[in-house]
Amino acid sequence: MRWPRRRHSVLPGFGLTLGFAVVYLSLVALIPMAALFLRSRGLGWGGFWETVTTPRVLAACRLSFGAALIAATINAVFGFVVAWTLTRYRFFGRRLVDALIDLPFALPTAVSGIALTTIYAPTGWLGRALEPLGIKAVFSPLGVVIALTFIGLPFVVRTLQPALEDLEVEVEEAAASLGARRRQTFRRVILPAVAPALLTGFALAFARALGEYGSVVFISGNLPGKTEIAPLLIVTQLEQYDYEGATAIAVLLLVVSFVMLLVINALQRWSGGRHARGA
């Protein structure tokens, strides 16, 4: 027999644990973040607007958003294929491949950065193949996309896997017995069912890619106005003691992060909140 949840639990320690959690979170995260917003207020609206609309900042933001969008799209497509293959098919080495998916989470971004740069350099394993085609992967916007695709992949795969596992075969059988071809079943039955999870994974990969720093700075070459991403511009301005400029871009990135967090929360509620994984 289950009682309706009581407001006052018999368990002890509520005040202590909640108090500690709130105080800790305030000291470590909330107060320093408040410092950022207060600092940016010193600029005023006009100053803020002026700072974030200089050609250099605009170019950096365009590159960050554009490359993050492209990378998240690549991940949505290939991440779907990977998640599908891993949940539906049995093949040699499947468990090893499955364990490897989290590599971009586990590998420090600086290591990913120098490794990707070495591979895609004109003398590298993959760069050598791209060079005769006239494709320049390192020190170009393409390099940024490559790095962001690498770090975003696990978000899509890990969000889709539980959703694909939860799909009931009976529904697909029903579709087939009603005369649907496999392709139709996929488009009309499977895809709509996993669409929320796919969108969540896409949003997670996009949000992560927007703020990514370590894996990008080595491969991008950091040419102002060409291959300079927004987080790098913050670092550059900080090194030149331009605190106001750095703060303005940081506020912009932080606001976008908040919005993405809200979007992702809404998407997760839509998909039932059960397919939300991704670190």
């Binding site: 018999v10 368990l11 320690g13 509520f14 644990t17 909640l18 959690a21 800790y24 979170l25 470590v28 995260a29 909330l30 107060i31 320093p32 410092a35 950022l36 294929v81 990977v82 293959t85 098919y89 093949f91 491949v97 364990a99 490897l100 998916i101 989290d102 590599l103 971009p104 989470f105 586990a106 590998l107 420090p108 971004t109 600086a110 990913s112 120098i114 490794a115 990707l116 591979i119 590298g124 394993w125 690498f150 992949l153 075969v169 697909e172 017995s177 496999r182 079943t185 703020g211 720093y213 370590g214 987080p231 913050i234 670092v235 003691y241 605190y243 703060t247 940081a250 932080l254 992060s257």
Partner: protein, 285 residues
Amino acid sequence: MGLRPSTAEPRWVRLLLVSVTLLFLGAFLVTPLVAVFVEAFRKGLGAYLASFADPAVLSAIRLTLLAAGIAVPVNLVFGLAAAWAVAKFEFPGKSLLTTLIDLPLAVSPVVSGLIYVLVFGLHGWLGPWLQAHDLQVIFAVPGIVLATVFVTVPFVARELIPLMQEQGTEDEESALTLGASGWQTFRRVTLPNVRWALLYGVILCNARAMGEFGAVSVVSGHIRGKTNTVPLQVEILYNEYNFVAAFAVASLLAMLALVTLAAKTLVEWRVAAAPASIFAAGEKP
């Protein structure tokens, strides 16, 4: 050959999808990992080992161990406290709290470093006071520890909260009814119930603490032998075209990543095998 089931794809589609998966993952995941070790051993084992004789590298390893050694226990305690409050009780603002716990994951690492510069830096809120008392946080070890703590806040809590919510409060209530104290209940009932998720959270927390680059880079100041962590040392060696040493040090971090992945896989198998509750073996809530 029998008929293909109506819910399976044709054989050529399956072959194609498996090939695409393996090719894509091979190019994007396996190649970088292999490249780290190949580059590290390019000039032989001697050159590889010599990279670790550099005092700057040793000092970077010490600093990384120190930062992780502080950040992981602190966030372990926070994760347990936050999970207890969120999972076992109802209170207004609960979903706001869980969102805030995840916040450091959504923030760019660079911004995570910047906020501490704005509080503790020379031109920050506490900057003048710190300088008057001859204390340094930014471009010094405390700043690196703080930035590491910030970026690793969510890891333990977000592994524990969903599991503890799913487990409910019945086990704890039974223990209390049987006369256990609150602390005994937590230690003997709650902790064993969540031990694998806890271990997993700690592993992820540690991996991030040791591997963090962006946030630490902003507060470090890159003082050789003093404020460089292992990832920052990798960057310095790489930018000095000392590729063998850079990849040798990076191979340490890559091994840490592989150990993390192995531990994760192991823990997942244990979770799949272990009963969800110590009282109700095999019963799904």
